[in-house]
Subunit: 609 residues, 2 copies
């Protein structure tokens, strides 16, 4: 009786055929789980969420609350696994940080934030001048700075009086548009910060920004804790769409993680949380909807209708963000059910509006969003590329964490395989870029043919255990072997085929030829680490001159930051969202024609270097 | 050792010189306190808040929570009083309702509320028409009703999707200005209600209004529970200004009472609370500030600066009102520290803008607000008339509750006194209009001279017990006697003198003579029940032809209702608030000249009828 243990968020799998201690399985699989007491049940460091979970032991009952017990919190060193099991490892139990791909190519943005601070020294009220405190501030803002204010946050009105009287009538007013969102005693002009958040399905990236200079002070990433409730967007939508409690749970989990991260970043950078005056957040439409508590059930079924596609600005306190109490969170609009505001932010960061020629912007993930700009049109689509590039549905797949194979080279004569792993550790599995590399190399040396079939008779090709299909051995370390199976190849064919289909349909819609493309911008964590040449080689991208590719990293995050500090870009994003034409691939009559072609590999790769 | 027991909110006092059971004292004083078990400590009906409170008995410990015990909740039948004691009787313990003067002269207002409902039957989303749910509603509102909507309440976005899909795409959209504040399944156009609240220092009046017809469906009044923390505005300001906790307490007390009242009114009128789409609230500036949690300390000391004098519109859920979750409460602006939005509402209800000639509008209370309209100017002031007209600081004074003397007639020959009481009960005390009547009559028959001195030698005039000064016996029932003392006369002189001073200074400021006044509008509970002739006789009002007086009742409430149903009047109120010139009496050099004259009574009243 074989069973599988899935570790999230690391995306690692282990197989067992007899009951074993979870801590041992995790160690053997190379999952970096903390344990100080050596598995004696004393330190409590190896806590995980297990599903299905054993009856808790006395030690666990002692350590966890009833709620935690019910949620499946257990100690890995006290848990014996006997069947298919999901194991979620909370960040606190991980020995090493995952490689959180939050780097992004910074762009020059002239800061013109919507929130500004003004220092005011006011005349004290007298019996001959009894105008209200708010009126007094309003008039001085107009007189001294020519700033017209119309309203004040209701909570700010509560503190104006005492603040004025406690600071000898010298205050700093925080103004957002025509609203006063805060007052502080004395001169505090410099303490003006903002946070841009890129809320991804797996990762949340944070940019702490000085609103006056527009510079990033701190960049930080955490795993999206919702991953415990489903690895990809669709399973998240399914879970959240099931009951209101589930939606609330996902919402509160992510909010908690965001608040915790903001706390940490602020402490690291010696910034007070109340000085975070504005927040922007981008994400795919499901993440956006869940964060706001919007209904997502409808996102999971045709016709995938969004609840709202407006830009939203909401008081941070209403959302539950622990920053300046009068501040706002601004969420640029999503474009469609599967083209989120993160894609919009990427388009802003790529400067798509200002660049000339025909341009493709592509963000690869479980869903891949593609935009084509040509002849004044911007057309976008979303392809269900699946989670293979994130390491899922691949036998030895894992996320881009320590020990993941990320580069593969096969000598075309000896067929000797060389792999490079993240952090140069002994190989634990393969991440997305490693798989793409591996398959591209297998194709080049002839191990795979253009239909995707693994050819028997090559060195390293063998039958999988207890099965008929073939696999290719990539790496071996002691008893641990890592292979790419026929099934893995098929998964990648589906994934890259979906992406290529999207590109081809966009080109056909716009009546553009491959050679007319002037620029391809590739964003996203995975997109940043792939080798575009190899992506072309497996047919994921069309044959475009390699010099036309730019890899921009987490452009969504950079876009969120741009929208945070620049009113102009914020307005531009709104206009852009309205301009972008969304193309629903499922309704295109040429979809299957393109797709059946796109899942094949290009011919005659053999001999290429 | 004599001590006093003060009963609030009824405003009754009792004196004792030996320890006695509170229930007995209350009964003897005519305070209608419930008791079903006859004082055996079993029914719990005679619960009161006592300060200082005895150690609780076992019965009380059992009946009340620790919080309640700490707040001073006790049973009157278990409480022995030994010293000066404040007793607050909660509404639930009162046998008879106080006369809550909430009647107001209705005015014709064409309804044009800011909140409107629209029925929409939408096209179902398809793969070829995937626009967001919100977008769909927006476009249909524009197409069908030419209504332009820009945003939606963040909580409404959460329910649009399920509402559409659960109602076969037929919904009612609730639109306020350019915001969608609610969606409901099916056709619910008629369920459009609003509540106007007049938040007074002693009374809160509610008007449940049908927004479509503009008609009042229900009118209701409750005692302001803050009265337990101080009877007049200044003591309330003092209490709230002391600590933030106090302010919060006052705020939450009044909020609780308002929510309870709304619940009750809605149940009575078979209206769902979620169908209350808009609320307006007016009140004096301290009540307004406390309701919003604005700082009030500064209202209690010169120069009496308001925190804010803008009109405010706040989500009801942010304020804590339990009505339509997306709805707003609208608060028209206060005019000055002691001229609140209730006065503004009164001016709107009086149609001051449309009436020609020289007009005085006056709202009598602990503070009396007066506005003079002449030659295109509107000048207002506030006079500290004190609480005498509300029954406080008067020996036998009480509020206008059952058993209060409200009319007095003295036969000029026999000096026989006839009194009329509220509900024709045996006299318990004197309310404001009764005192004004009594003093006016004493003046007419010569018992008081123009300096205010009570003349000895008249029938009914005698020395007060254990004192030298004089008093006049109004009524006697068994052992209970009710008198007007020299001290009472002085209190009324101060009160009416303050009001007259305000009128005179306004006239002088505007350079108007008494005979040029075309109309006097008298509002407020007290103002409605007084006899203007007698008010002229004691010099509270100048000698103006009695035909020029109009008593409008609770005009503040009527104004709040007008502002609820009419956008035009709401805008008019905002303009008016800016136009009204506030005159601070304390800075007027002619104040003392007028005041010393105004506290005297007019001469030669003798012989008038």
């Amino acid at each position: 009786m074989k069973f599988t243990i899935k570790f999230s968020p690391i995306g690692k799998r282990a197989m067992e055929n007899r009951p074993r201690l979870l801590l041992d399985i995790a160690r053997e699989a190379g999952v970096g789980l903390k344990s100080l007491c050596g598995g004696k049940g004393k330190c409590g460091k190896c806590k995980v969420i297990v599903n299905p979970a054993n009856e808790p032991t006395a030690v666990e009952r002692n350590l966890f609350t009833q709620d935690e017990i019910d949620e499946g919190y257990r100690l890995a060193c006290r848990t014996t696994v006997r069947e298919d099991t999901q194991v979620y490892i909370p960040p606190s139990s991980v020995t090493e940080k995952q490689k959180l791909q939050i780097w992004g190519k910074e762009i020059e943005v002239k800061p013109s934030p919507l929130v500004r601070k003004f220092f005011l020294h006011l005349l004290k009220a007298t019996l001959l001048d009894t105008k209200s405190d708010f009126q007094r501030i309003k008039e001085e803002l107009k007189r001294k700075y020519n700033v017209k204010v119309e309203s004040a946050d209701s909570k700010v009105l509560n503190i104006i009086g005492p603040t004025l009287r406690g600071s000898n009538w010298s205050i700093t007013a925080i103004v957002r548009g025509s609203e006063i969102i805060g007052v502080e005693p004395g001169k505090r002009k410099k303490e003006s910060f903002g946070i841009a958040i890129d809320l991804g399905t797996s990762r949340i990236a944070f940019y702490l920004v000085d609103l006056l200079t527009g510079k990033s002070i701190n960049i930080y990433g955490v795993t999206n804790p919702q991953i415990a409730y489903g690895e990809d967007v669709l399973s998240r939508i399914h879970y959240a769409g099931n009951t209101k409690t589930n939606l609330k749970k996902l919402k509160s989990e992510v909010l908690k993680a965001i608040n915790l991260a903001i706390k940490k970043i602020c402490r690291e950078s010696k910034v007070k949380r109340v000085d975070i005056l504005e927040v922007t957040l981008v994400g795919n439409t499901a993440m956006h909807h869940i964060f706001l508590g919007l209904p997502v059930k409808q996102l999971g079924r045709a016709p995938f209708t969004m609840a709202a596609n407006e830009s939203l600005e909401i008081k941070t306190r209403e959302v539950g963000l622990e920053v300046s109490p009068g501040g706002y969170i601004y969420l640029p609009p999503p474009i469609a059910g599967f083209v989120g505001s993160d894609h919009l932010a990427m388009l802003i960061a790529s400067g798509i509006e200002t660049k000339k020629g025909n341009l493709i912007a592509i963000d690869i993930g479980t869903n891949t969003e593609i935009a084509l700009k040509t002849k004044g049109r911007i057309i976008s689509c979303s392809c269900a590329s699946g989670p293979a590039f994130e390491g899922a549905h691949v036998k030895y797949g894992m996320r881009a964490a320590s020990g993941a194979i990320e580069r593969v080279n096969i000598d075309s004569k000896s067929l000797t395989v060389n792999v490079a792993t993240i952090d140069d550790r002994a190989p634990l599995g393969i991440c997305g870029s490693g798989i793409l590399d591996g398959i591209s190399e297998m194709l080049r040396v002839g191990i795979i043919d253009s239909s995707g079939k693994i050819n028997p008779g090559y060195r390293g090709v063998r039958k999988i255990k207890r099965g008929k299909s073939l696999e290719f051995l990539l790496a071996k370390k002691g008893r641990r072997e890592i292979t790419i199976t026929q099934q893995d190849v098929s998964e990648i064919q589906l994934a890259k085929g979906a992406i290529r289909t999207g590109i081809e349909i966009l080109l056909e819609e716009a009546d553009i030829k491959t050679q007319d493309i002037d620029r391809v911008i590739v964003g996203g964590a995975f997109g940043t680490y792939i080798d575009p040449l190899k992506a072309i080689r497996i047919g994921m991208f069309p044959e475009i001159d390699i010099g036309k590719f730019t890899q921009v990293g987490n452009a969504a995050g950079i876009g969120a930051k741009a929208i945070l500090i620049s009113q102009k870009l914020r307005e531009q994003a709104n206009q852009l969202a309205k301009r972008v034409e969304y193309l629903e691939l499922a309704t295109q009559s040429n979809f299957f024609k393109h797709f059946t072609r796109a899942i094949r590999f290009p011919k005659s790769q053999r001999g290429k270097v």
